[in-house]
Symmetry: D5
Amino acid sequence: MDFLVHMEINGQPSDELLKKEAQRARELAEAGILRRLWRVPGRRANWGLWAAATADELHAALASLPLYPHLDITVHPLATHPNDPGSVGGPGRVPQT
Amino acid sequence: MDFLVHMEINGQPSDELLKKEAQRARELAEAGILRRLWRVPGRRANWGLWAAATADELHAALASLPLYPHLDITVHPLATHPNDPGSVGGPGRVPQT
Amino acid sequence: MDFLVHMEINGQPSDELLKKEAQRARELAEAGILRRLWRVPGRRANWGLWAAATADELHAALASLPLYPHLDITVHPLATHPNDPGSVGGPGRVPQT
Amino acid sequence: MDFLVHMEINGQPSDELLKKEAQRARELAEAGILRRLWRVPGRRANWGLWAAATADELHAALASLPLYPHLDITVHPLATHPNDPGSVGGPGRVPQT
Amino acid sequence: MDFLVHMEINGQPSDELLKKEAQRARELAEAGILRRLWRVPGRRANWGLWAAATADELHAALASLPLYPHLDITVHPLATHPNDPGSVGGPGRVPQT
Amino acid sequence: MDFLVHMEINGQPSDELLKKEAQRARELAEAGILRRLWRVPGRRANWGLWAAATADELHAALASLPLYPHLDITVHPLATHPNDPGSVGGPGRVPQT
Amino acid sequence: MDFLVHMEINGQPSDELLKKEAQRARELAEAGILRRLWRVPGRRANWGLWAAATADELHAALASLPLYPHLDITVHPLATHPNDPGSVGGPGRVPQT
Amino acid sequence: MDFLVHMEINGQPSDELLKKEAQRARELAEAGILRRLWRVPGRRANWGLWAAATADELHAALASLPLYPHLDITVHPLATHPNDPGSVGGPGRVPQT
Amino acid sequence: MDFLVHMEINGQPSDELLKKEAQRARELAEAGILRRLWRVPGRRANWGLWAAATADELHAALASLPLYPHLDITVHPLATHPNDPGSVGGPGRVPQT
Amino acid sequence: MDFLVHMEINGQPSDELLKKEAQRARELAEAGILRRLWRVPGRRANWGLWAAATADELHAALASLPLYPHLDITVHPLATHPNDPGSVGGPGRVPQT
């Protein structure tokens, strides 16, 4: 199941914390949970496409981020859309190269 | 450049109009402009990932939708994020054909 | 997975439509999808507790309601909470038949 | 009478405080006041189903939580709905196993 | 239990409907449910103080108003306050007949 | 003239300050300015019914509260409603026992 | 007592209705109730400074406007400010005839 | 050109700062820029009527207030209204000395 | 004086009305009142940069638009900024003919 | 591509920081990225017209501002409008003297 997730960072994280965050993001991407991530221009904020079996699995992933205590997160659950181009070759999925 | 687009449909479109909408969505997907589309559960609304060189190109694509006169659309411009799995060839990537 | 769902009814549904709605609600309750339903006092609105494997299954259930074209629906995905009495067999539990 | 209660935790409570909170939640569950509790995914927030004879009894329960000084709480009063599956076997009640 | 209730009237009710509304308001006042009512200056809206044992009883009273189909109602549950003059026989008291 | 007043307390007032607040509330009740006060369940907030000849008199009363520097106050002016049960025996007044 | 009043006109009133509105505004100005009126640029809306002994008197004046059924009105009660030039005979004063 | 200006004071200014503010307000009133000022009852906030040739002149006046660093200011530009009593020599007029 | 103006078109204007709107926009541009105009992508809405001596002059220009009865307009007054490239003859300048 | 950008400054920047900000603004203006800048009267806020090939280029420019850590920024993407006076002599461009 896909989730659209918006994150806003409160305060100014240190470079070390940002490096840990990038490392954890890589792990979550490899686990197939974090699928895409975009920066909101002009803000310390991002929109992400996340995939998880349940809201519990999603919460565990989000709470594992080193920046989690500084994040203001909003989760939008997503259903598949019949016109989704990504669903060609599988229901709603992001094709894996 | 990527755009996150939210659409809400006003009223109840006819089946014929929905068929035309699906056809146009396919064309925009083939043109590489409409990349992904998800339904908001419980609503006649969707979140979409769109790619266009400029806001003009995006507007032309959105205004070409048969449902356009019935849509309430909000556009969020997206910048690339260093932690985006899609930008480094990772498993969550949306293929750049 | 549980979802908290808020519904607001637009307009005044006929008695016949309300009877069909009650019938469909019974079916969704028997299927274990609609778990609880409360009226918002003073409004043609309700809060409901729904259970579905995915947002797709939830959307299918909501869209199957006879009142669906007249409903303004908002879905809140729910994760389990360690202090939930329902999750440890306590007195407040919603039985998992 | 049922109440839907939303809580948002300000700041980062200590482990000790969280343990006390869990203990008090258990007591309120045993007293039949706290019926269900769900986490809002990605947030230090929850939705709960509470039962109390009056708003006074509800307030006393909420104010007895060790985290209370850190909570931003919103209370939604609930009326029974004729289509509530939980009302089979009693008006509006959560069946007790 | 007291409830603070805000009502906004949609449209322009006929004189006959307003007369029926006044009659029903008198009955609810005699039943001790409607305690006070104030007009919002400049608007077809009011704030009211209502007393009911439960949200169900309150909903039944509100839904019995002839204007109910035209009302946009918001209910605020009220708890007692230790500094309430009404609760200690002071001059501002709403008599509990 | 009646005013509906909503107050939200910022921070955690000391017991001593709360005692002074209760004392000042008693004086304002005796002066017939503070008529009723209800707690918002789950919040350090209240709804109050205040009576004052003008907004100046109301402001003076509110600003005389020991908690005033910590209060976020919203004032709703009230007009009399023809259906107000309290207006039996006088225009808009709360009957005095 | 002064009130700041915001009005938004719904729909397009006829020239005849606007002429009646202007006539009634003149009467309310002569009665000293309507003190000042400004148009919100680009909108069929205005901000006005009104003076009335009570919210009842203000409501009666507002409800006497021929456009009243088409107006969305918000009332802000005003208290005197020690730095008000109008209150000390300064150049910005609204004369109290 | 007239402007309706809303100010909210953050924090608790010292008596000395308030005295300086009053002195500067007098100067701006004498210069014909600050015309009227009202307190929002129950809040450290005010509504003011300001006159300036341009937004630049208005900004210079507002930024010259000793409290300026503590103010949250919103400016509403005003156009003349044909029904304004102040514009036809009526009783509500702000004299243009 | 510059104004930032946001317009939202309600409904679907006819081609003839749009042609008249374009003609009037040309006239206002030639008069130096309408300086720039951008479409909000995906919406029948625009952001415009307008120049007028007063809010009255601006209102007259906006109200002269053939689409005016269908427009929802919000006006933001603008002051000059010391870092504005346009104000020092820089490359981004809007020429003051 | 043009962007309308709103910035709000949190806190009180030092004179030195403001001088650095002005210097960076000049560089961005010379690079043709910052086109126009207006102050919001009465606020430490501005509206700006920015030009960048993509949201990435815009974000890089915004993040290069010395004040960036203190800015709350909102970006509105702009499409060209057929009635834009600036587009005479080139699609959507601000003419360069």
